[in-house]
Symmetry: C2
Subunit: 420 residues, 2 copies
């Protein structure tokens, strides 16, 4: 094989473990310097490639790269920037390939969700057509767990653990207060279209009466009456009611319970604040005192309570991506294959990007309980292994020690500016 | 000494470590069975004493009591119920003493904030007058750190650690996203009148540019213009702005930034939702995309990231309460005395309840930076030791194992019902 450099970029919302994938990728690439020259990272994701703003990861010490394994967020910067279709904006794709060519890049590693896998796939196709073939490997990442083919997605297990731990703790708190004070607690979690994260809250309820008593999924249209009946029943039976609600909770007509009216760069509605809406709704009907929390970024950046399974899988995906590239593969993404539930065993597979791109994996109906407010045993069996194990970061003076890289820029080679 | 039983109750908002105080108290009392018979706990705090709903803690195994050390919330139930003044409702105080007399209770341990210390003090005074002297020992507890005399207050260190860790993690997250997406992150924390919890967020910022860039204290009147200037400057300098805001943030005229209009049992205004107000304010003026989080109960129940220092001190306060009682003291509260900062050393002292009751300790002015948006080195020196050390609970299948006690009721001895 001719020695080529590699390009790596992080895309979309970051997670507690996307840097663990970067760590696995860079550490593995460094072991194959005969084939992979340098690993260049895109500063702020694919934008860095388009603007030729590359980071030379070879300037980082082995120790700094190792610390990525326990550092949340995207160490090179991520971006919310979706390339248009090939037909609409071929120039952008051609620009990518030009930049890669200029820096002798033969490997394109793109760490992201469904949109990113789509981009990787297109770059692979176009690079062949343009006579500068690039091996394009996607690396799965999304807290939403909504990528298809792979059994689960790195990033999700740690959010799941955070949500399950948090609602258990808050549930204990509310139970203590319920006699004279707070009877209802609402915790809002991420998940616009897929209720995987909310479902994970259900893991905290191991025995009858445990929090959470109600989960609201985006997969189930919200019915106020049924919900209120359930809230009152929970307070009557257990003295309190702990609720986990997806940000994407909506009525049967599609209207979100909380619709802030803003949209992000992908045209998705920017949601937030369903928890206070729900809490007030309960207060108005029952008079119960409430508290509510919105976990927002705290849930996806909570490396301090990351799932060990998740960290290991994230690292393994980065490593596998390099190995797929070394094996001559392109337009593929490493996947997690579950071989058994008890004991939990998994291995690495791979999937064609064309099968992964732009497909959103919903929760199976069989994962949601009949009344629509909880999870089934089947769901529990699926989720439980993903939050297993703790992987604490190192601490100094009471605070986790996360690494900030030097992120040294690679000298530009192209003369023309490009504005994405 | 004549053998008497002890009464223990938890009061007000619970914390990640109030059960560690209960653990220290019960374990120590069990070592002195010649003097202290049984420890009865009030079910739902002082309400349990008034209604003669006592829990026999001797029915709990040594193992269950030991597990209280790592279990958040109030294991016997807490309550928000403030006794009126002696003049206004002498009957309630007399009822307490009657119940204590009926169950041969000679020790009253009350684990709470300023209100609770006041109650303990009054029970002590009245019990003497009524000819049934009871030794009343307060045990400090409040996430707000606003009790006087004691250097700090159990419960605070763990919230402080949660807030500092969380804003560091969220800060890393926002920094990754800022180029094309979220530029401003607002995290709302507890603290109506005292900004101790918000200040703790400042510990996360060790180097220039670190999150949080702005802290909003209830001690400093909010000025929109100065705030906006600071937000814009932070985005200009570092690419993003991470903000920690106290729920009690208010304008110069006293109006809260978020005023939900509800009041709790103590007549305090129920606040919440300053984070979205602030985020929207920024969006309106700058157009910056924002995210916000409201930690609410998650912060005070987060036993999974408790401060080791806090857990040790909470346990020590429970133990010291028993030791003060054994030494014949009454109307006192054990305190934490700081003997040195570096290395951090502390010892146990005691304070008369009359000095502690109903006094709120504000942040010293010297702890807040000149511009009103940050903490000083002095503040950092004070706070840093309090979050030091991790004290992880045991986990099973990815979830922390917290104990739920049997809470067996003591047979009632009084015939009359009492409705508090």
């Amino acid at each position: 094989m001719t020695k080529k450099n590699a390009f790596y970029a992080q895309s979309g919302g970051v997670t507690a473990v996307i840097n663990a994938s970067a760590c696995g990728l860079i550490e593995t690439a460094r072991k194959h310097k005969d084939v992979i020259g340098k690993v260049y990272a895109g500063r702020n994701g694919i934008i860095g490639a388009l603007t030729e703003d590359l980071i030379d990861t070879s300037k980082e010490s082995a120790r700094a790269i190792a610390a990525l394994r326990h550092t949340p967020s995207g160490a090179f910067g991520s971006c919310r920037y979706k390339l248009k279709s090939l037909e609409e904006d071929r120039a952008q794709y051609e620009r990518l390939i030009e930049v890669f060519k200029a820096h002798n890049i033969g490997y394109f590693f793109y760490n992201g969700g469904g949109d990113s896998q789509d981009t990787s796939n297109k770059v692979s196709q176009l690079s062949k057509k343009m006579g500068y073939p690039i091996q394009c490997i996607g690396i799965p990442k999304t807290v939403d767990n909504d990528l298809p083919v792979t059994d689960n997605c790195p990033g999700f297990g740690s959010v799941a653990k955070y949500v399950a731990v948090s609602i258990r703790e808050a549930g204990f708190d509310v139970a203590s207060m319920a006699k004279t004070s707070t009877k209802v607690f609402v915790m809002e979690v991420m998940g616009r279209h897929a209720g995987w994260i909310a479902a994970a809250g259900g893991l905290a309820a191991e025995n009858k009466g445990d929090a959470p008593h109600i989960i609201i999924f985006p997969e189930v249209a919200f019915e106020r009456k049924a919900f209120m009946t359930k809230v009152k029943q929970s307070v009557a039976d257990y003295g309190y009611c702990a609720i986990v609600v997806s940000e994407g909770a909506h009525y049967a007509d599609g209207r979100f319970l909380a619709d802030a009216g803003n949209t992000d760069a992908f045209g998705h509605k920017q949601l937030g604040g369903v928890a206070p809406v729900l809490a007030q709704m309960i207060k108005d009907e029952t008079g119960f005192k409430y508290h509510w929390a919105v976990a927002d970024y705290l849930q996806r950046s909570a490396r301090h309570i990351a799932s060990k399974t998740d960290v290991e899988q994230a690292y393994a995906m980065g490593k596998a991506a390099v190995e797929l590239a070394l094996a001559g593969e392109t337009a593929v993404m490493p996947t997690i294959i579950r071989s058994s539930n008890k004991p939990y065993r998994w291995k690495i597979g791979s999937a064609k990007l064309s099968r992964v791109a732009n497909v959103e994996k919903m929760m199976p109906k069989s994962f949601i309980s009949k009344d629509g407010f909880g999870i089934t045993q089947k769901c529990r069996d699926y989720l439980a292994p993903l939050i297993k194990g703790e992987d604490y970061p190192p601490y100094k003076d009471g605070l986790p020690q996360y690494v900030t890289l030097k992120n040294v820029a690679v000298t530009k080679k192209l003369t023309d500016e490009f504005t994405p």
